[in-house]
């Protein structure tokens, strides 16, 4: 949870899900951990994946941008986009696993932490039920995209 590029992208998933409404509000946070675990498995097993950090930064840019521009693609498009980025996040976590870590505790902890970040994004995203809330959510989305760009171009 200390990698801010990961954190803002996780929150953006929840935010976008809340923005898209049902069923995306729960589909995206279900798809993300599952695919992330697959990426994590690749990382643990030493399967190389190029451009992991770029993928993570790009996830914040694109997902934040989706919220900022109030993008409403079909559910399957949103799910595929989220799933594509989840692989990079999972791979990064998988390669970073400390040797001494308790496997189950680590796995549960990283999955639950991801889920809770999604939940915080969803919670904030529920402000979209009010007109001012929609503006605020889109501003936060833009902020996430900007932060992602800062990570992408090495300013953060």
């Amino acid at each position: 949870m200390l990698g801010w590029d990961h954190v803002i992208a996780m929150v953006a998933v929840g935010l976008w899900g809340a923005f898209l409404g049902m069923p995306a509000i729960w589909v995206l946070p279900v798809v993300f951990p599952l695919v992330m675990a697959f990426g994590g498995a690749l990382g643990v097993m030493g399967v190389p994946l190029p451009g992991v950090e770029v993928g993570i930064a790009l996830s914040a840019v694109l997902l934040g941008g989706m919220v900022a521009f109030a993008a409403r693609p079909p559910l399957w498009v949103a799910a595929v986009l989220v799933a594509s980025f989840a692989i990079f996040h999972g791979h990064a976590h998988g390669t970073e696993l400390p040797q001494a870590a308790n496997a189950l505790a680590y796995s549960l902890g990283f999955v639950v932490a991801t889920g809770l970040l999604h939940l915080s994004g969803i919670g904030f995203g529920l402000l979209t039920r009010w007109p001012q809330g929609r503006v605020l959510v889109r501003v936060v989305g833009a902020g996430i995209a900007a932060a992602g760009a800062a990570f992408l171009f090495g300013f953060a």
Binding site: W26, P29, V30, V31, P33, L34, M36, A37, F38, G40, A41, L42, V44, M45, G46, G94, L97, Q99, A103, L104, Y106, S107, L108, F110, V111, V112, G115
Partner: protein, 184 residues
Amino acid sequence: MPTLALAHGSGKGAGSFFSGAVHPLREPAHALALMTLGLWTGQRGIDESHPSLPCFGLALLLCLRLASTGINLDVDFALYVAAATMGIAVAISMKVPTLVRASVAGLVGAGIGLGSRPDGLVGAALTPPMSGTAIGACLWLLNAVALAALMQRPVWNIGVRVLGSWLAASALLVMALSLAGRPV
């Protein structure tokens, strides 16, 4: 004084029955398989869970008995695969025939039974921990079934589906760690 490191030994300060009862929660493969089976079984309500519970219980008892005779199989990987599959089934709220559900419950019970023989014990000394495992596993399963069955309202049901995805994700990760030779 150094002592033997036992994978399935008693916890410090706990009697062997109690250690057996919590053993399913201390083994990652058993814990994940039990929790996902419980959510999957209870997701469609208590009535639909009826055939699965006795199948699980009978298979568990039979395989605990087999394990006590010395049969020792490493079924952890199979339990991880089962947990990941059932977790995904919970996440997508997949409908399957009752016979399939009951069969899977039986297989999970068998796996837990076969993988629960305590190390370093023989004969009558096996009875308390294995009895504890039988009762503990059934109670933990019932808790998970009850949790899923009680969360039938649409919003709460989403929580069950999210929990299923988390458990499946955890099972996939622990499976990968196991394949990579990391200690689990």
